[in-house]
């Protein structure tokens, strides 16, 4: 064996040319290099959680309650234990002593919020169809599925609690020990609300409904736990958005010390909030691995997931807007009734509270009252689904702006112009206490109107109305903003959220000049590996290909707050920038030493430190990396490392905005609605990767449109989820969606060094009201003034029938919502 000579290695690496010539670095931010993630995804070499095979792996299957609400009078798993291939079977009582705590809710929005204990396996009472009552562990998934059929459970049925307003009567308690179904009341008020409404020339009052939605990420949830039981050490692989949060929470739920848990989010196939949670099956798999000393896998089936994975939305919104007759909004009142479902999951109560700040939208007025009551029901728990509170708020304000425009006889876009924050007014302090940093609503709207051909479509609409066309055209507007980039930790603290909103990044310079970026932000489809590579490559002046992004494993990326709330780029991406700055500063010290120059005389550009005035005296950052690795000649007292960690806590949210215009064709005979044209102009500040941004917008639009037209989690009065599979829960396919026209304006964020804003939720937040406004606009001449979601053909048809029956343009008859109330004089009620 030959002796290793460091000098030789150094020379070899230098001669190999691997250190590159970074002076030709072309900026990558703003470009769309091919996604790094795709190689494994398009070739089928992905590492989904369900792909994981470990010697000795056992499969768990969960028996779920078929009843919405019942007492378990007896449960017997002994026959299941005797089934071939079955290793173990447990009831809730069997595992009860293993739980150090219930499944967590990290957002106690009020000090007196009701927080019932939520054990991973129900013990005495089941509270929704899908509540877990027993678990079987078997040699393979087939044997586990079979064994479930041998479990004998007897239930004593209790009344289901499905209707939110009925739930408030407490006639049936979902959690008897809490004494009420009312989980919390959360109030907010700013300005002279009563006086404003008393003095208002026009008040429009509406009730809107946010149906329950099922997030339905394409990859079902799955978890694998690999134990070293003797050492009480566990690796938890989970299809999760939040490996870091999950690690903390699993420690609290199971009592296994946090340092003994490693949580890995392998490739994760979408989340949309549904994997932003701590689930019963994750805790169960961990305890089963501990008890049995064997690796455990659980993978949900889709129909199981429809019951056992959180749902989204689920609100009744009572909204009142006050305005002057010439179209100046003066005040807003919002009262929400929010469906918590049977238990409070990780951020269930916080979802409607996030929305509280967004009801004012992009408009200026001085009086705002908000209240939200959270209520327990015997349905699958709700939690964050793409947009989380903000789509609901945006829907309400954008719908009522259209209703106000109708009542005032004003073009809906003109009404918006009269009320929105103008571009020279930024930064703008809103009635809710937020500071919108930047935006240009005029520019986005003008561009959207141009792309849409608004005037042309209005002409076509008039022609169709004129000739009584069977297929009517409707135009809908949504001029939205949202708060994302969650979040400044102090703000989260003030809202009683259980953690901070920072994000971590580390940059490690490898001896060969290559770069590892470690991020605490955990992707599940967003493209972090590509975008972070762009950011790091630009910051350090290294080739895009030389950057490797590591994530989603608490052993590799130990610090993180994970991915939700459109926070990755605006928080996690900035952490990468900050870490790169630290690397450069450390490298500068080494470069100065090697060049025998003063640090202050060094410029850093294109990945190269050069001495100001004598550019031939230079060191690339790769050369510095190698020198630091060798550590032969470093400044006195310097550690041989230029690696750096950064944790970035944003000073503000980011406030993307945009104008979405939708034209629909509604077949007035059948009620079928087809999107005729969809134009959106979004402003997400500066853009790191326009292709990824556009993709996020497209996908967001699809989900927002799906809420408007297709999707609804339907429960029958007994509490059965009747839209329980993809056969009945209508996720739109390729033929059901239009080709979107997208464009952008750019109002850089002023609160982060990249000037970026979030984009992950924008399309979903904006699109739902645009579509519904369009449907109502199409049917306005027929007397239809409101439309429940989804605007299914039957709903549309019935609305037309009911409007006909009540004499055409009679106003609110179609939906029973309250009509315009005018307080300034008799003529206003016309």
């Amino acid at each position: 064996m030959s002796k290793i000579d460091p000098e030789e290695i150094v020379e070899e690496i230098e001669e190999s040319g691997q250190l590159g010539h970074p002076d030709h670095h072309v900026p990558l931010v703003g470009q769309a290099p091919r996604r790094k993630e795709d190689a494994r995804l398009v070739t089928g070499q992905t590492n989904w959680t369900d792909n994981i095979q470990i010697p000795g792996l056992l499969h768990a299957a969960v028996l779920r309650s078929p009843m919405a609400h019942a007492r378990i009078t007896s449960i017997d798993v002994s026959a299941a234990r005797e089934q071939p291939g079955v290793i173990a079977a447990f009831t809730g009582a069997d595992l009860q002593h293993h739980w150090a705590g219930g499944l967590p809710c990290a957002w106690p929005v009020t000090p007196d919020m009701k927080q019932p204990v939520h054990l991973p396996l129900a013990v005495d009472t089941v509270r929704y169809v899908g509540d877990a009552v027993a678990v079987v562990v078997a040699r393979d998934r087939y044997a586990a599925a079979d064994a479930l059929e041998s479990i004998d459970v007897e239930y004593e049925p209790l009344p289901a609690v499905i209707d939110l307003e009925e739930a408030l009567t407490d006639a049936t308690l979902v959690h008897e020990d809490q004494g009420t179904n009312r989980a919390f009341d959360w109030p907010f008020e700013a300005g002279e609300v009563d006086a404003t409404f008393d003095a208002a020339e026009v008040v429009v009052k509406r009730r809107y409904f946010q149906q329950r939605l099922i997030p339905a990420a394409m990859e079902p949830r799955a978890v694998v736990v690999a134990p070293i039981a003797a050492a009480d050490e566990y690796t938890v692989y989970s299809a999760t958005q939040i490996p870091h949060i999950l690690r903390v929470m699993l420690a609290l739920v199971t009592g296994i010390p946090e340092q003994k848990l490693r949580v890995v989010a392998p490739d994760v196939g979408g989340g949309f909030g549904s994997k932003l949670n701590v689930y019963a099956e994750e805790a169960m798999a961990l305890i089963l691995a501990k008890v049995l000393g064997r690796p455990i896998k659980w993978t949900e089936s889709r129909s199981e997931g429809f019951q056992a994975t959180i749902h989204g939305r689920g609100q009744i919104q009572d909204v009142e807007i006050a305005a002057t007759r010439d179209g100046r909004v003066t005040g807003l009142k919002v009262q929400l009734l929010a469906d918590m479902g049977a238990y409070l999951q990780l951020v269930t109560p916080g979802v409607p509270i996030l929305g509280a700040f967004m009801f004012p939208g992009i408009y200026k007025f001085d009086a705002y009252r908000f209240g939200c009551t959270g209520v327990f029901t015997t349905m699958t728990p709700t939690d964050a689904y793409r947009g989380a509170g903000r789509p609901e708020a945006t829907f309400a304000i954008e719908r009522i702006m259209d209703d106000l425009a109708t009542e005032l006889g004003m073009d809906p876009i003109e009404l918006r112009r009269r009320n929105w924050i103008e571009h020279h007014e930024f930064p703008f302090d809103t009635i809710c206490g937020l500071t919108y940093d930047s935006g240009n609503y005029e520019a986005a709207t003008d561009r959207a109107l141009e792309l849409f051909d608004y005037d042309g479509l209005r002409r076509e609409q008039a022609e169709r109305r004129e000739r009584g066309d069977r297929v009517q055209l409707g135009l809908g507007t949504s001029t939205f903003t949202e708060m994302c980039g969650l979040a400044p930790s102090r703000v989260l603290g003030s809202l009683s959220y259980g953690a901070g909103g920072w994000e971590a990044a580390s940059i490690r310079m490898l001896p060969t000049g290559k770069v590892e970026v470690v991020t605490g932000s955990t992707p599940h489809g967003q493209g972090h590996e590509t975008a972070w590579s762009q950011i790091a490559a630009d910051a350090l002046g290294v080739p895009f290909e030389d950057v490797e992004v590591l994530h989603g494993d608490t052993a590799v990326a130990p610090k993180g707050m994970d991915t939700y709330g459109s926070r990755s780029l605006t928080v996690g991406g900035i952490a990468v920038v900050k870490a790169a700055e630290k690397v450069i500063e450390k490298a500068r010290r080494v470069a100065a030493h090697l060049l025998e120059a003063d640090e202050r005389d060094l410029d850093f550009a294109q990945g190269t430190f050069s001495v100001r005035g004598s550019p031939e005296a230079s060191k690339t950052i790769q050369e510095v990396s190698l020198a630091v690795f060798a550590a032969h000649d470093l400044p006195d007292g310097m550690e041989p490392s230029i690696d750096a960690d950064s944790v970035f806590d944003p000073e503000n949210f980011s406030f993307p905005h945009g104008t979405h215009l939708c034209a629909v064709e509604v077949d007035t005979e059948t009620g079928f609605t087809r999107i005729h044209r969809y134009v959106c102009v979004d402003d997400v500040g500066n853009v790191v990767n326009p292709q990824i941004v556009e993709g996020q917008v497209h996908g967001g639009l699809a989900q927002g449109i799906a809420q408007a037209l297709y999707e609804e989690a339907v429960y029958d009065p007994e509490g059965n989820l009747t839209s329980g599979t993809f056969v009945d829960y209508l996720v739109p396919g390729a033929p059901d969606l239009p080709a979107f026209v997208t464009d952008r304006t750019v109002s850089p964020s002023t609160t982060n060094p990249l000037g970026v804003k979030g984009v992950g939720e924008a399309g979903t937040i904006a699109s739902t009201p645009a579509v519904i406004n369009a449907v109502i606009d199409a049917l306005k001449p027929l007397g239809v003034t409101d439309m429940r979601m989804p605007a299914s053909p039957e709903r549309v048809w019935r609305a037309i029938q009911e409007a006909n029956a009540s004499g055409g343009s009679a106003g609110q008859a179609a939906t029973g919502t309250t009509t315009l109330t005018a307080q300034a004089g008799p003529e206003a009620s016309a």
Binding site: V42, T43, Y142, M218, G270, G699, A734
Partner: protein, 173 residues
């Protein structure tokens, strides 16, 4: 237990299988061909789509025994030979999905690409509408389909330029 004799991605397998074993579980759990995904249990999502004797099939709605005697191509064999890695060797659809950003989380992608192979074999020059309808057996939750359609259009162009539709499936044309 019946015996099956099946060629998958060019490799011949002879196995005993339980009659109820679904083809997708045979691929994933028995052969370790985890490129093919399960996204639902009602034959709606198409994530599990493979080619059986050259045409698209949902492998969750097919028994492994039904595959006896057939030739199957999964996403992992599309570029010809399993594990073919280098981007220049990818099938034009794989390249196009990458270039046009036709995937985000990528879970639907293997099924989407295999359905697109089937579509382009049948219709080498599809309109946008024909592409959308040709993919109606596959659900995607991330992309809104727009870039998937673009990717199929781009790949169709490349395949037409390259010649015969027989070139669509690598390794078994």
């Amino acid at each position: 237990m019946p015996d099956i004799d099946v060629r998958i991605n060019g490799i011949r397998y002879q196995d005993h299988v339980e009659p109820r074993l679904l083809l997708v579980h045979y691929l994933r759990d028995r052969l370790g061909l985890t490129g093919t995904n399960v996204g639902c249990d009602t034959s709606n999502c198409g994530a599990c789509t493979v080619l059986v004797d050259g045409t698209g099939a949902k492998s969750c709605t097919m028994l492994a025994v039904q595959a006896d005697g057939t030739e199957i191509t999964t996403i992992q064999g599309l570029a010809g030979g399993e594990g073919a890695g280098a981007p220049e060797d990818w099938h034009p659809l794989q390249k196009a999905f990458n270039a046009e950003h036709g995937l985000q989380c990528g879970y639907c992608t293997p099924g989407m690409i295999m359905s697109s192979v089937d579509l382009l074999q049948r219709n080498p020059d599809p309109t946008e509408d024909e592409i959308r309808h040709g993919l109606e057996g596959n659900l995607c939750r991330c992309t809104g389909y727009q870039n998937i359609v673009k990717a199929v259009q781009a790949a169709a162009g490349e395949l037409r330029a390259a010649g015969a539709p027989g070139a669509v499936v690598g390794g078994q044309s």
